[in-house]
């Protein structure tokens, strides 16, 4: 579980940094509509989802006990809470910045969904690592 959490944290950080650099660079070169293409680097975060395939269970070995389940459950709650705070902030900030009569491009909506998903998995992974103390020892 820790190895998978590390994989997800590393791939997500890489994806966010690469996307930010690409968006800034494309914005400076080509302007806004084309700069959004830099978000394609967020696909790197998808590698984190391959954790169960990369770190396969060794046959006959117990890899998860009660404590691990409790940690995973708390981490899932932390992920959900973080995602909800993200959605709440992203939904309320434009209302207060632009005013109730303002409008935004509909292309922001899928980004909100994607951001909430990444927040969930990232916070879940960080919460797992925090509960284990970041180290390899249980």
């Amino acid at each position: 579980m820790q190895k998978m959490a590390w994989l997800f944290v590393i791939t997500t950080v890489l994806a966010v940094v690469a996307s930010a650099v690409a968006v800034v660079w494309l914005y400076a070169e080509f302007g806004m509509p084309k700069a959004v293409a830099g978000l394609a680097f967020m696909g790197i975060a998808g590698i984190g989802g391959l954790g169960p395939l990369i770190f396969k269970k060794e046959s006959g070995k117990v890899i998860c006990d009660e404590r691990d389940r409790l940690i995973n459950r708390r981490a899932a709650l932390a992920g959900f809470g973080t995602a909800y705070m993200f959605v709440g902030a992203v939904c309320m900030v434009p209302f207060f910045v632009l005013g109730p009569l303002g409008s935004i491009s509909v292309t922001w909506l899928p980004m909100i969904f994607m951001g909430a998903g990444i927040c969930t998995f990232f916070a879940h992974s960080v919460a797992i690592l925090l509960q284990y103390g970041w180290g390899g020892e249980k």
């Binding site: 899932a76 959605v87 939904c91 209302f95 409008s103 491009s105 509909v106 969904f113």
Partner: protein, 148 residues
């Protein structure tokens, strides 16, 4: 009725009250285009919310007997399942609320920002509704719990 069931009932009542207030305010603002007059006309949502909060605090804290535990293994399992169901339903609703308008309106489309606040409130209310209903369904909607 144990603490988990009472909490679920109050969650359900809170959902219904919130929906009633939103519908009432929506009709007043967008259909009748006038604010209600008088103290009760304007203040009933606040009075109702405070009443529900006070009643929930008093009734949820009151136990059937002094020896009654706050929750047992079965309650924890029911809450865990309800949380999982609520989690999945919130993600489904969020996906529908964000992806379908983008597909319908296309890249050039735009939406008013107050719809974002409705999405936010809608997601929260759905989580509360689904969790409460899932808890009550698992207990069998009766005060004594499900049949064995």
């Amino acid at each position: 009725m144990n603490k988990t069931q009472k909490s679920a009932w109050f969650g359900l009542l809170s959902y219904l009250l919130t929906v009633a207030i939103i519908v009432y305010l929506g009709v007043r603002f967008f259909v009748l285009k006038s604010l209600p007059q008088g103290f009760l006309g304007r203040g009933w949502p606040i009075i109702a919310v405070y009443g529900l909060v006070v009643a929930s605090i008093v009734l949820i804290r009151r136990k059937q007997s002094p020896a009654e535990p706050d929750s047992d293994e079965r309650d924890e399992l029911i809450k865990k399942r309800a949380g999982q169901i609520s989690f999945v339903s919130v993600w489904l609703l969020l996906a529908i609320a964000t992806l379908i308008p983008a597909l319908i309106l296309g890249e050039a489309g735009s939406i008013p920002v107050y719809l974002l606040t409705l999405i936010n409130v809608g997601v929260f209310l759905t989580a509360m509704l689904v969790y409460s209903v899932a808890v009550l369904v698992q207990y069998g909607r009766r005060s004594k719990g499900e049949k064995s």
